[in-house]
């Protein structure tokens, strides 16, 4: 049948054009005259009320589009079960999902909350409508990820760790690192938080590693569910990136904003790097069993997405507005990944700390060693012995690797800023802020705490800027505790009241699984508490010693 005779053409009636529809919808707002909106979330930025032109969409087309995406996701989950996905899934991979999926729903819903903050500041109602859709998207992301996690819990061989997920999120040292991300979206200066940190950096740059690198690796490990959910999540991000860019463009022409924008781009880029690369780098490189030498390593992915796509095509063009771009930080982040082994040191740290995790980490094996050495020349010399030690000490009855003095591992300080430990020893630094000593993984993180999160910046008052707070050094919470008591307090014990949720192996067999009795008798300590107790001279000497690093002892 020729096109001209289709039913659609016969009955189609004239409708509103999409640009007319979005123009009408944008005209719903007005400037209040009886009661002013309270400026509840302050910012030190000046926002020009010049409407920009973000993506054109109205809720009438948005909701059916999203429902259709959902139908595909839930259809794929059903299909995965019918296809017996879990029979072939790699437990090494799914175990890391206990950590990843414990963290991510809270940053997602925080992004929804942050839309309240930018919604009020939005220059023009079209952009406010964009933020409203993003709010509902982020509600989608948070709950669709909770659903995925429940689905793993119901169908994966070892549900322990999924069953305590949100409680574990509140207590685990690793999930706190992710919480820094989420709280950063909603607390402090509204533009710093909800525009620069969330959208201009996290969503624009780092969701690619989160929501594209992770799914590829999941699929290589027999997990077809995570790609379905996360690629669907990622498909919403281009709208968010567009929203964020529109708001950025309404700030950037005012030279008064440049100083703050430079501060926030620096802070946000470095902290996103420190947090996301630590976590996602570890999941992708150490959570996989696929050692195909033709696939891209995390470093290669980073170069493509962060360096080429983000730095070169998004950040550099900002220079033409007169913004100073922190080229040296981008280079430093790249060096941390390829020269200083940032990801490998993080994976090592996570595995050293296995008794206080709520997921299992198995040892890396010969096949893994070859791949790492191929992708990261020199890896074996630095990490080979460590993973052999880890395997040896994974057997019940050994002294756990965290407290085993034979390995030569030195437990690290924690960074007060990004909350990842100070793993690149040579970069360790410390400083005094409001009379107290703090430790940092890097100069950039020291600057973030002391200089950026403060009441003034380069002589300019910044009354809206947030502050770091809380018990940011996790170890301090259990300073002086017996390891077994700490694990009990964390709630990382299985329903029998003695077997640990975390295990340093993938044996699904009670006779091989560690219990509280296997880890009792070791006392946890806070490196920062001890560091603060030193005299200034002793402290400097300790720092010099720390920067020298450590060597893992040979294993026979």
């Amino acid at each position: 049948m020729p096109d001209s005779l289709t039913l659609n053409k016969i009955t189609a009636q004239r409708g509103m054009s999409i640009s007319e529809a979005t123009r009408r919808v944008a005209d719903l707002g007005w400037t209040p005259s009886y009661v002013q909106e309270a400026m509840t979330f302050p910012t030190d930025y000046k926002i020009k009320k010049t409407p920009r032109d973000p993506m054109k969409q109205v809720l009438r087309s948005y909701f059916p589009m999203q429902e259709e995406k959902d139908n595909r996701v839930y259809g794929a989950l059903d299909a995965a079960l019918r296809g017996d996905m879990f029979r072939n899934v790699q437990p090494r991979w799914v175990e890391w999902m206990k950590l990843f999926l414990a963290i991510i729903p809270f940053p997602e819903i925080s992004a929804a909350r942050s839309m309240a903050m930018v919604g009020r500041l939005a220059p023009g109602e079209e952009l406010r409508t964009g933020f409203a859709m993003q709010m509902v998207d982020e509600f989608r992301h948070s709950t669709i990820q909770m659903n995925l996690k429940k689905w793993y819990m119901e169908n994966y061989i070892d549900p322990a760790g999924f069953d305590i997920t949100e409680a574990a999120f509140g207590k685990c040292y690793a999930s706190t690192i992710g919480r820094q991300f989420a709280e950063g979206f909603v607390t402090g200066d509204a533009i710093t938080a909800a525009n620069v940190y969330l959208t201009v950096v996290a969503e624009t740059a780092f969701t690619n590693t989160l929501f594209v690198a992770m799914p590829s690796e999941a699929a290589r490990n027999g997990d077809y569910a995570l790609p379905t959910v996360f690629l669907s999540v990622q498909s919403d991000e281009s709208r968010h990136v567009g929203n964020g860019h529109s708001l950025l463009m309404s700030l950037i022409n005012d030279p008064d904003n440049h100083l703050l924008l430079e501060r926030d781009l620096k802070y946000a880029f470095w902290q996103n790097h420190a947090i996301v690369d630590a976590a996602i780098g570890t999941f992708v490189e150490y959570g996989t069993t696929d050692r195909d030498k033709n696939k891209e390593s995390y470093a290669e992915l980073w170069h493509r997405w962060i360096y080429e796509d983000y730095y070169r095509t998004y950040m550099l063009p900002l220079e033409k507005y007169g913004i100073k771009i922190h080229h040296d930080d981008v280079a430093a982040a790249w060096d941390r990944i390829v020269k200083s082994n940032y990801v490998h040191l993080t994976a090592q740290f996570f595995s050293v700390g296995w008794p206080v995790n709520f997921w299992r980490i198995e040892a890396q094996t010969e096949k893994d060693f070859e791949w790492f050495e191929h992708k990261y020349p020199g890896w074996y010399a630095q990490f080979g012995n460590y993973w052999k030690w880890y395997e040896k000490l994974s057997h019940k009855g050994e002294t756990n690797v965290l407290f085993n003095a034979d390995t030569g591992y030195v437990y690290p300080h924690r960074c007060w800023s990004c909350m990842v430990p100070c793993l690149i020893r040579a970069d360790f630094t410390y400083d005094t802020v409001e009379g107290k000593v703090y430790t940092y993984c890097s100069e950039q993180c020291r600057w973030t705490h002391k200089v950026a999160f403060a009441a003034e910046y380069e002589g300019r008052a910044t009354p809206a800027m947030g502050r770091f707070s809380g018990r940011r050094e996790w170890e301090e919470c259990y300073h002086g505790w017996d390891l077994a008591d700490a694990i009990t307090d964390l709630g990382f014990v299985r329903p029998d009241g003695k077997t640990l949720v975390p295990q340093p192996h993938l044996h699904f067999d009670d006779s091989k699984m560690w219990t509280l009795d296997d880890v009792r008798g070791h006392t946890l300590g806070s490196p920062l508490t001890n560091f603060r107790a030193l005299t200034p001279e002793q402290r400097e000497a300790a720092a010099i010693e720390y920067r020298k690093g450590f060597t893992i002892n040979p294993i026979h």
């Binding site: 509103m16 707002g29 009661v35 940011r472």
Partner: protein, 360 residues
């Protein structure tokens, strides 16, 4: 390099392929379900927003400049012995939300398409067409105002359950304000002389609408998020929103030869039933609180006084609209009395006294 480890003997990663401690622990076990078993909504929602009083070991780790943490109970004057007790009656999580919203926009789209195909808008009474463009056109801004007020409010609640209920409320209000906008734009394609800018002009300038605009701006401008949520659902919706939607549009339209508008507007009544159920659940929980119930009830009376006075004034200022249609089948006084009765019933359900606002 030498081989260091045999691969584990386990072959399948599927549930049930091995028995060991914890291998059958397949339920989220960190919260108390409201019913005998946790609902899917609870599993998706509870404890995602953490709390130092529950599991947040390291406390909130960023604060505002004055030391206020990321979430703070002082963001409303209402107090609770346990904010985590609240569950949304409509049990929404993303999937149910998109399904419902999508069904509504599908229904509205069909009504408009079929109605236009049948030439229905051309048969609307002429005086009624002007009522729609001037006054339904003005009213859509009130809906938008409630949508932006609740979008703001969803940042502040102390639990995920409270904030998500306010978030879906915002989504419903914003959708409906757009539904009406697009509906008017589409019937304008079929009817000569509809002025699509008239609604906003009436909203900003017509004395009939200034009370309503004042009431809406008072909700948008309130800095207590629960006051915003209360004023939206317990005060404005029944006294002004339903009064206009049900007491005027739905009652009058058929007699003006208009069978389309009631279908479009009825969606808002369905939305409100759900938002109201959620709000009543939350405010009655607070009114019944062992420790803070008394002061919460006083607080609700003060919110009712403040926003109720504005809403009653708004309602009275709308009265002339009832005499605009050529065929008059509904009386303002009857509609207002129904609206007041509705508020009395809602207040009774929550457990506070609304008489000081309504009975004079």
């Amino acid at each position: 390099m030498s081989a260091t480890q045999q691969p584990p003997e386990q072959k399948s990663g599927a549930a049930g392929s091995a028995q060991f401690s914890g291998s059958d622990s397949r339920k989220f076990n960190y919260f108390e379900p409201k019913g005998r078993k946790a609902s899917h909504y609870e599993d998706m929602t509870v404890d995602v927003q953490p709390d130092p009083k529950r599991y947040l070991l390291q406390d909130w780790i960023i604060s505002f400049a004055d030391g206020t943490p990321t979430y703070d109970e002082s963001w409303t004057k209402a107090q609770s012995s346990n904010w985590h007790q609240f569950r949304a009656v409509d049990q929404e999580w993303e999937r149910t939300h998109y399904q419902r919203q999508s069904t509504i926009v599908g229904m509205i789209t069909n009504v408009i398409e079929n109605g236009r195909r049948a030439g229905a808008p051309k048969r609307f009474d002429k005086a009624w067409v002007k009522v729609l463009s001037d006054h339904l056109g003005a009213y859509k801004h009130a809906e938008f105002g409630l949508g932006t007020a609740t979008m703001q409010a969803q940042r502040y609640g102390y639990t995920q359950m409270i904030n998500n209920a306010i978030l879906t409320n915002s989504s419903y209000k914003l959708r409906f304000s757009q539904d009406v906008t697009l509906y008017l734009g589409e019937i304008a394609l079929d009817i000569e002389g509809i002025d699509l800018d008239a609604g906003k002009t009436h909203w900003l300038e017509d004395p009939i609408w200034q009370g309503t605009r004042h009431a809406i701006e008072a909700i948008m401008g309130a800095s207590d998020f629960l006051e915003q949520y209360f004023a939206t659902n317990i005060v404005f919706e029944p006294l002004v929103g339903e009064l206009f939607r049900s007491g005027f549009i739905m009652q009058m339209a058929a007699s003006q030869n208009d069978f389309m508008t009631p279908s479009v507007v009825s969606a808002a009544e369905g939305d409100y039933e759900r938002n109201l159920a959620n709000a009543v659940e939350l405010f009655s929980m607070l009114a019944l609180d062992q420790k803070f119930g008394e002061q919460n009830r006083k607080l609700f009376v003060s919110w009712m006084d403040k926003h109720g006075a504005l809403a009653v004034q708004a309602a009275h200022q709308m009265q002339p609209i009832w005499s605009l249609p050529r065929v008059k089948v509904a009386q303002f006084a009857d509609a207002l009395e129904l609206a007041k009765n509705r508020v009395r019933a809602i207040a009774a359900e929550i457990g506070f006294d609304a008489r000081s606002t309504l009975d004079h």
